[in-house]
Symmetry: C2
Subunit: 415 residues, 2 copies
């Protein structure tokens, strides 16, 4: 029976792995981390509301408990693909041979070549990055408390008005407007500035206009300085420079402006399209390759492009697995078709937007509850669900004194 | 009304702070971390069983919710004490003036001048140190999986047979003997070595002989290589050298062999005794000082020495607060007397020892349940209790596949 290798233990990779192992195939899952991360809730880790352990799940445990029993896990970073030998080359240990390969390694931040961005801006797309942002923010606030200058300022700029940027800016602004007086009584609200910078004229591009306006209003209500139609020209260590000549002094810049292929993919010899995404066909196989699939954020079918979100990744992962199973039985499948179950984004407590085809649009508490519910269900494992639910419940109920609940150490010398 | 400063937000400092604020005093609490840590459960963080956030509690929250309302928090590292000006000098910001001062800064590891120990050994006395040990251990196990050498080894040596060393060695050994086959199927038990090194001829010195024997038996049963009567002569980056000429190759050395004053205390101008502990009198005031108290691990009354544990710290903190309150009303208190409610130590799942005066000694599941219960009650905050309880329950019930549940990233290049 053929050996299948899945690169990446995120939404796409895990679902492909699960379906294949259940069908009795020999599958090796490779990931650089020994755990999978529920990325949609990383912004909660970055703002002190959740433990990283609440939203990570051990891949060793996942693999050891899959029905089917022929799945294995390999903790390693994929450095290359030997297309001739049909082997995945890894950072440590022997290469991993494959008969079928599913690429599901996701993406990283896309800095669009903007000078200074990759060196000076932070992201919250991984566990480690989210913790780093968290500690920078809370260290920054602590250091502010030791200063007596009434004009002292701590400025966090979030670049990118998509869901990630909106929830980060919204949550930070809630801390500023509601929690500061209770938890940081030494500070005035004006000392903590939260800015959201977006190149387009609106936020949340995939959402209906009404929901976009609602979001902007909610952000401003919470004290976010929303700057639309504002393009970043350069990211300096202590400031943002804008294309229109403007400048903003910053302490922390969070880049939530776009995602793109990990640079190493360029060496793999697979065709790449916009944003470095690997070009696939209607059956999710990489263009020009019979035995290699690509799913999730890292893949792109130019004739049927999918948004880089969790739901498409999950469905693509399952499809690729079913396609492999069908082919091994000499059968075929109709092309992949995404079943859009809806999109949502949270802005802050009780404020969110949800858009469910064909025409349902929700805001406020109903949207927020739906958002919480969907995310809880999607977490791996009962313990994760329970812990996340409890942490978020405590945070919600005892707000604002629950702000800065789960934090790290403060750097003695400011950044 | 006098200004009181409490240095250190651990067991002793927090209880002193609480009593004083409730009595209406103006109190400033200073700690280098924005949170207090429940140190007895740090070994669970170090072995992937708990989140640090489960056992840390925000000091800003603690201070903001104290009845009395005249308490404040200052996040800073104390660098000195100006005894003439009666000010506590801190790393950032203005010095903090005091009329009464309570020193409760605790202690750090005591390396007894053993060469290489402070550079090459790790401790688990702080949140950051426990996380570092956790990531070293799990990275080490991961790297072992990538090697094909049947004689490959990952060795963790724990130096010190007190409660800290015993629970660390016991928990690691359970992972070795019970979890490895499930969670790290690539490894054999022999690949992971857990060694407990103790200079004396027994472990858990404060406990009755019967309980000591039980503990040694339980450790060996779990696969710990217990080396009593073994003194460490030097700690090298990759090995321990013993006084008897022996040598042990090690990957991680955890120093749980003793605690002592933070080095900076020597500059404070207060009298120090054995282990650098600040010398106090029967009323917990520092010898020679009317307005300075010292409580908890950092203090020592040579005529009435207390073990360096949580209970004495709590009682001393409360006593010092009550003494200040009494003096401000022109009254006095009888000398401090420790009410020993018992000591306990855990070894592994279902295995613990508990000693409760005047003569109750427990082992096994009853001791373990008592241990769990007492620790849960002692945690600050309903959320901490609930999260810790849930995490430990899940870990217990789904063991061994729950091993390595809450872990961090793996370093790509081994140590």
């Amino acid at each position: 029976m053929s050996r299948i290798v899945v690169v990446g233990g995120g939404f796409g990779g895990l679902h492909a792995f699960r379906v294949l192992v259940k069908a009795g195939h020999r599958v090796t899952l490779i990931d650089r981390n020994p755990y999978t991360t529920f990325q949609p809730l990383l912004y909660q880790v970055a703002t002190g509301g959740l433990n990283p352990g609440d939203i990570t799940y051990s891949l060793r445990r996942y693999v050891s408990t899959r029905p089917g029993g022929r799945g294995t896990f390999r903790r390693a970073t994929v450095t290359g693909i030997d297309l001739d030998a049909k082997e995945v080359v890894v950072s440590r240990g022997d290469p991993v041979p494959y008969d079928q390969l599913i690429l599901a390694q996701g993406v990283g931040a896309n800095f669009f070549g903007i000078p200074g961005a990759s060196e000076n801006a932070r992201t919250i797309y991984t566990r480690a990055a989210a913790l780093q942002v968290r500690d920078l923010i809370f260290s920054g606030l602590e250091h502010l408390t030791a200063s007596k200058d009434p004009d002292r300022r701590f400025t966090v700029a979030v670049v990118g008005g998509g869901a990630t940027g909106v929830e980060m800016a919204g949550t930070l602004a809630e801390m500023k407007s509601e929690a500061l007086p209770v938890v940081y009584p030494e500070l005035q609200q004006d000392n903590f500035r939260v800015v959201l910078v977006e190149m387009a004229d609106t936020v949340l591009a995939p959402f209906a206009e009404r929901l976009q306006h609602y979001t902007i209003h909610q952000l401003k209500k919470r004290g976010v300085d929303v700057r639309l139609g504002t393009a970043v020209k350069e990211v300096r260590p202590d400031a943002l420079e804008f294309a229109d000549g403007g400048r903003l002094e910053t302490d922390v810049v969070i880049w939530a402006s776009g995602v793109g292929a990990h640079p190493v993919v360029a060496q793999w010899g697979v065709p790449q399209g916009r944003g470095g995404r690997i070009l696939i066909g209607g059956d999710l196989r990489v263009q020009g390759f019979e035995d290699i699939y690509a799913v999730g954020d890292c893949a792109l079918d130019p004739d049927n492009p999918q948004p880089q979100l969790a739901q498409p990744a999950i469905q693509m992962g399952e499809y690729a697995a079913r396609h492999i199973i069908a082919r091994s039985a000499g059968q075929d499948l109709p092309p992949f078709a995404y079943a859009d179950k809806g999109t949502m984004a949270t802005i802050g407590r009780n404020a969110a937007v949800a858009q469910i085809p064909p025409g349902l649009a929700l805001t406020g508490f109903p949207a927020w509850s739906l958002w919480v519910g969907v995310h809880l269900v999607a977490l791996l494992g009962g313990r994760n669900r329970l812990q996340t639910m409890i942490n978020m419940l405590f945070r919600y109920v005892s707000w604002p004194k629950s702000a800065a609940g789960i934090i790290g150490d403060v750097a003695e010398v400011p950044r």
